[in-house]
């Protein structure tokens, strides 16, 4: 049976997960969940082009793969801690930039369109990242 890290086709990947394959197997010397998380981070940072890694990572999570390795990875740049720190930094940059944009007199489309898209995304994520609500403490 092919290893999960080697399966690029999404249907084949899904089919493998539906069989009895070990979702906590390794690939390239590390847990496969960590491999796909890293691939997602590399995609975001423009080091790779294939966005399928998000779906594969998502499928592994749905299949209840062990996520503990993401909390202690030795690859700091691609660990969860770094994701959260960089995200915080980028939100800070965005907030500062927006405060400067208020001073541009004729700022308009395509910014207005992007602003609306961001707004809907941000609202969705605020709901998603609430620590203290009932959903989180189930």
């Amino acid at each position: 049976m092919k290893k999960l890290g080697a399966i690029k086709d999404l249907d084949a990947f899904r089919a493998s997960l539906a069989s009895d394959i070990d979702v906590n197997q390794t690939w390239c010397g590390r847990p496969v969940i960590e491999y796909y998380f890293t691939e997602c981070m590399r995609y975001i940072n423009r080091y790779r082009n294939d966005a399928n890694c998000f779906l594969q990572f998502s499928m592994l999570i749905e299949a209840e793969a062990d996520v503990f390795p993401l909390f202690q990875t030795v690859y700091a740049e691609y660990g969860l801690k770094n994701l959260m720190e960089i995200l915080y930094l980028e939100l800070e940059i965005l907030i500062i930039t927006l405060s400067g944009m208020k001073k541009i007199p004729d700022i308009a489309f395509p910014f207005a369109k992007e602003r609306m898209r961001l707004k809907s995304e941000v609202e969705a994520w605020i709901q998603n990242i609430i620590l203290t609500d009932e959903k989180y403490n189930e």
Partner: protein
């Protein structure tokens, strides 16, 4: 007067601005505010206080009225602009959200003071951003 881009210390940088240095001056061929923005966009791993200083310098420039037009619209073929930053954030939130759909991940985060604190900070930051986007809508 020294160019702002050549000043490494944050305190001296702010003093330079307070002393009347041109916040729209250039550095290495770019408006300084765009240069610092690009530097910040190339950080993919937070390592040291240099990054925090860079962010504070960026904030000081914008607060002092530096023109961010080049950041909003960028240059042709240039990834380092507002829309690229927006893309980074949306994708990182998407990745984090997928992870948070794991019950195990939630439990691990709740058990760990650093992670649970970081998540709360992110939430606060997102609320700030949301309010700011609302304010901008009212002036569009």
């Amino acid at each position: 007067m020294r160019k702002l881009g050549s000043i490494e210390s944050f305190d001296a940088f702010v003093l330079g601005i307070a002393g009347g240095a041109d916040v729209n001056s250039t550095w290495k061929g770019y408006p300084l505010v765009q240069f610092i923005f690009r530097e910040l966009m190339h950080i993919h791993e937070l390592k040291n206080d240099q990054h925090k200083t860079l962010l504070k310098k960026y904030q000081a420039l914008v607060m002092a009225g530096a023109d961010v037009t080049t950041i909003v619209y960028g240059s042709p073929g240039d990834y380092d602009n507002f829309f690229d930053l927006s893309r980074y954030i949306v994708l990182r939130l998407k990745l984090l959200s997928i992870l948070l759909s794991s019950r195990q991940a939630k439990a691990l985060i709740l058990q760990d003071r650093w992670y649970s604190g970081a998540l709360r900070e992110l939430q606060t930051e997102l609320r700030t951003l949301s309010n700011q986007l609302d304010e901008m809508e009212s002036v569009e």
